[in-house]
Structure formats: structure tokens, C-alpha cells
């Protein structure tokens, strides 16, 4: 009997869905709005996280050695640094490599090239590029280098960039918070609209609900089809939202990458297709079922 009832609840849900065609379409479209908001929230967070990670990638400490610093000494310091737990990675750029990089960078500038030729010798020192395991560890690495009494060191280049990085980080994390707040508020508004649309749709069925109750239907037999219908609305709304995100991310992907650097939204979309759909589907079903549950409650009191 439970199986029969379950089957009937499902069947009634689909019959209602079909016969209330316009109400179903309107409900789905409004739910699409709410789901798009939720999807944008996810996209925005992914984008900003990727950008933040990207920026952190670019941060390093460049340690410039004097021209006459012996390579042994440099390797000794590198060994000391490698022993520090705060250090993740060290790249050694020898004097010759530094010169090659410098020449490559200024190959179009005849003045610099000829000046170098005039000089006849390599004016550059070797460099150690240090990456910290954590953002906050740079400070202590710099302190270690500055207070270590290494005579061969020319200068430690972190301070110069530090202020810039700090600001960029602050801007990014602020925009993350603002973006999250704005999208969350919009998402909440969209949720309220979807919630009330469903409530209105069920309000028009209040008479039917009371009739069903009076001919002896149990609470769940009456409510079931509405919940299933809500889930079906959520399902279609999440599919439509997925279809909308396809051209949108395709269009926005390269532009966002140009602006933020790093991540292409479209490839995020295609690579996480199922996970993303599942997230939107979950949002859609939750809105549909929750709203229907709340909306039917008051008319079922009979």
C-alpha cells in the first residue's frame, strides 16, 4: 500500500505539473533567477580564490649577492635557507644567467646593449629567489637574511614589493567580502521571490487541498505531489541555469582572465560540469521542496 501511494503521489505530481503548465513555467523561471545567483556566488568565489592564489604565487624574496661573492658562500646560504621550515622553494640564478635574462629583457634597447658591451664585464650579481611556504613567513625569512651578518649579500628585495602586495591582497579580500555580501543579498532576495512564487501557486490550490482533506486523504498524500512538483521545478530550473552559464562563462572567461589573471571561468565550468550542476540542482531542489513544504502547511490544518 505504501508503494502504491508513493507511485500515485509521483504520478499526481507530474499530472499537476503538466496541467498547471503556465504556473509551472513561471515558477521555474523565477527559480532560475535564484539559482543563477547561487551559481554566480560560486563562480565569483572560485575566481577570487584563484586570483588570490595567483598573486601569492608571484610573491618572492629576491636576494642579490655582490659581484664578487663566491659561489660557495652563496650555496652555503642557500643550504641554511633550505633548512628553514618557512622556506618552500629556492631558485638559484647565477651571474651568467642573470646577465642572460637581463640581455633578453632589454634586447630591443640598443643603448643598454651597447653600454653592456662597453663595460666588458658582467655587472650583475647572482640571485636567490625564495618562496615561502606561507604568506606570513616572508617577514621572518627577510629578517633571517638581514640579521644573519652575511657579508656577500648586496640587498634583499622584498620590502619594495611588500606594500604593493599587501595592498593587492587587501583589495582582493575586500572585494571578495563585498562580492560575497552583494551576491548573498541578491541571492536571498531571489530566494524570497521564488519562495513566494511557489507560495502563491499553492495558495491558488488551497481549495483543492481542503477538498482532498475532506474526502479523507492523509496529510502526506495531499502534500506529497506538491513536494515532488517543487523538486521537479528545481530540477528544470537548475538545467536551464546550467544552459545559461555555458555561453555566459564562454564569453566572460577570457575577459575575466585578462582582468583577474589565472583562471578561465569557462574551463572551470567544463571541468566541474557535474559538480557544478549538482550544486545548482541541490539549491533548486531545496528551494522547491522547502517552499512547497512551508506553503502547504497552513492549508493542511483542516
Amino acid at each position: 500500500m505504501v508503494g502504491t501511494s508513493f507511485k500515485r503521489v509521483i504520478r499526481n505530481a507530474f499530472i499537476n505539473f503538466w496541467r498547471n503548465g503556465w504556473v509551472s513555467v513561471a515558477t521555474i523561471l523565477v527559480m532560475v533567477l535564484a539559482i543563477l545567483m547561487a551559481g554566480s556566488l560560486i563562480m565569483f568565489q572560485v575566481l577570487l580564490n584563484a586570483t588570490l592564489a595567483e598573486v601569492e604565487q608571484k610573491v618572492d624574496v629576491s636576494t642579490y649577492f655582490k659581484q664578487d661573492a663566491p659561489e660557495d658562500e652563496i650555496f652555503r646560504i642557500r643550504g641554511l635557507l633550505q633548512a628553514l621550515p618557512e622556506v618552500r622553494e629556492i631558485t638559484y640564478i647565477s651571474q651568467d644567467e642573470a646577465l642572460a635574462i637581463f640581455k633578453e629583457r632589454h634586447k630591443d634597447n640598443a643603448l643598454i646593449s651597447s653600454a653592456l658591451d662597453e663595460l666588458g664585464e658582467n655587472p650583475l650579481g647572482a640571485v636567490l629567489r625564495i618562496r615561502a611556504s606561507e604568506q606570513q613567513n616572508y617577514e621572518s625569512i627577510v629578517r633571517f637574511l638581514e640579521n644573519g651578518g652575511f657579508d656577500s649579500l648586496d640587498k634583499v628585495d622584498y620590502r619594495q614589493n611588500e606594500a604593493l602586495f599587501r595592498r593587492l591582497e587587501a583589495v582582493l579580500s575586500l572585494s571578495r567580502r563585498v562580492g560575497f555580501g552583494v551576491t548573498a543579498v541578491l541571492g536571498f532576495v531571489a530566494f524570497l521571490v521564488a519562495f513566494n512564487t511557489i507560495r502563491l501557486a499553492i495558495y491558488t490550490s488551497r481549495e483543492e487541498i481542503s477538498i482532498m482533506r475532506l474526502v479523507g486523504a492523509s496529510t502526506w498524500y495531499v502534500r506529497g505531489p506538491f513536494l515532488v512538483e517543487g523538486a521537479v521545478h528545481g530540477f528544470f530550473a537548475s538545467i536551464i541555469s546550467m544552459l545559461i552559464f555555458w555561453p555566459v562563462t564562454l564569453w566572460m572567461g577570457p575577459r575575466a582572465r585578462e582582468f583577474f589573471g589565472g583562471l578561465d571561468l569557462f574551463s572551470f565550468y567544463t571541468q566541474n560540469l557535474f559538480l557544478f550542476f549538482f550544486a545548482l540542482f541541490l539549491v533548486g531542489i531545496t528551494i522547491g521542496v522547502f517552499s512547497s513544504f512551508v506553503a502547504t502547511r497552513r492549508y493542511l490544518k483542516i
Binding site: 502504491t4 499537476n16 483543492e208 477538498i211 475532506l214 474526502v215 479523507g216 492523509s218 496529510t219
Partner: protein, 226 residues
């Protein structure tokens, strides 16, 4: 079978719908409840169906105190009571067949049973050729007959009709009353609430007269006197 024990219903503190009403309905009886609009007929029926709660007193249906039942037990009582309303109360999105079948589906009957019973009952009320019509495609009299078919299909012990002819023309009115009489002859208790003098005087069965929420007359072979 049905017993109202000193029942009162007061809406919103001081609007008295019915007051100190007691009566018994025996199995297979045909009882008409008459009174002007606002005399408490509909309230009486709503109380029996547990659509409303009494302010005082108890209502028994087959020795069950209707208002002591839990929310999940109420449907089982309602399945034993067929109801017909003035405004038909059909499900607008369902065909005549589906409206009648719904009552059976809700009580968990098997599909083959439903497929056998529904056409039979619709035939009984003379609508076997209108099974796939939606309510808005049927006349008032036809809609009311669908409602009666729905009330009958669960083989209820009692059929309650609340002003069933209020929205119908004289011809359809007599059709419906004749149908209710037939149902009663077949052994089902019928409670008919109406303010139609002609109907009451023609039926010639028990009449309970309500006035301002109180029973002023209860006669075995009553007439409509106000």
C-alpha cells in the same frame, strides 16, 4: 451512530454559531437539518467532519470521539463519511473519473478495484458518458452528481449533503434529492442540510429545525416550519 452531546461552537469569543445541541442519528436514517442561513447548519456539519473544533461538548461517530482523534486518524473517519457540498468542491484539474477515483486512491485502494468501482458509481449517477470531462465542462447538476458519486464510491456509512441543491435549477434539484433518497433506501444514512421548504415537505422524513444555533424542533415526520 452519530451522537452530538451538548455541543456549542462560539466563533471569536462572542459569535455563537450553535449552542447546547444534542441529538442522535440512527443507522439508515434520513435526517434533514433545516434552518435559515446562519442558523448553524453548516457549522454542525463542519464539526462532524472535524473541519472545526467545538467550543464545548463532544461529537461521536460510531463511538469514536471525533475531536479526540489525532490528525493522522481523522482521514479514516472521513473516508466513512461521504460529503456533498453546495459548491460541489470538485478538484478542477481532474476529470470526473479522476475526481471520483481520488477518494479511493487516497484511502489506498488497489488500481484494479478503482478501475472497476469508479465507472460503476458514475453510471449510478447517470454520468457514464461524461467520465473524461473536467468540472468546467460539466453543468452544475452534472458536477453535483460527480460529487455524489465521489461521496458514494468509498461505500460510506453516512452521506452528508450540505445545501446540495443550493446552486441548482428545480429539475436538477429533484434529480439530486431522488438520488439521495435512493442512496438511503440502499442502506446508507443520509444527513441533508437545506433551507428549501418544498424539498423538506416532500420527503416527509425526520426533520431537525435549528434557530439561532439551537434545536427548536425534532420531529419523526417533520415539515418545514419556521
Amino acid at each position: 451512530m452519530i451522537y452530538f452531546d451538548n455541543v456549542s461552537k462560539i466563533y471569536g469569543g462572542n459569535s455563537i454559531a450553535i449552542e447546547g445541541v444534542s441529538f442522535t442519528v440512527e443507522p439508515q436514517e434520513f435526517v434533514s437539518v433545516v434552518g435559515q442561513s446562519g442558523s448553524g447548519k453548516s457549522t454542525l456539519i463542519k464539526l462532524l467532519l472535524a473541519e472545526e473544533r467545538p467550543s464545548a461538548g463532544s461529537i461521536y461517530f460510531q463511538s469514536l470521539d471525533v475531536h479526540n482523534l489525532s490528525r493522522s486518524e481523522i482521514p479514516f473517519v472521513r473516508r466513512k463519511i461521504g460529503t456533498v457540498f453546495q459548491d460541489f468542491r470538485l478538484l478542477p484539474q481532474k476529470t470526473a473519473y479522476e475526481n471520483v477515483a481520488f477518494a479511493l486512491e487516497a484511502s489506498g485502494r488497489e488500481d484494479d478495484e478503482i478501475a472497476a468501482d469508479v465507472p460503476h458509481v458514475l453510471d449510478l449517477v447517470g454520468l457514464s458518458d461524461k467520465m473524461d470531462f473536467f468540472p468546467h465542462e460539466l453543468s452544475g447538476g452534472q458536477q453535483q452528481r460527480v460529487a455524489i458519486a465521489r461521496a458514494l464510491v468509498n461505500r460510506p456509512e453516512v452521506v452528508i449533503a450540505d445545501e446540495p441543491t443550493g446552486n441548482l435549477d428545480p429539475l436538477n434539484t429533484w434529480e439530486i434529492i431522488r438520488l439521495l433518497g435512493k442512496i438511503n433506501e440502499l442502506g446508507t444514512t443520509v444527513i441533508l442540510a437545506t433551507h428549501d421548504k418544498d424539498i423538506i415537505d416532500t420527503i416527509g422524513k425526520r426533520v431537525i429545525t435549528l434557530e439561532d444555533g439551537k434545536i427548536v424542533r425534532d420531529e419523526k415526520r417533520g415539515r418545514y416550519i419556521l
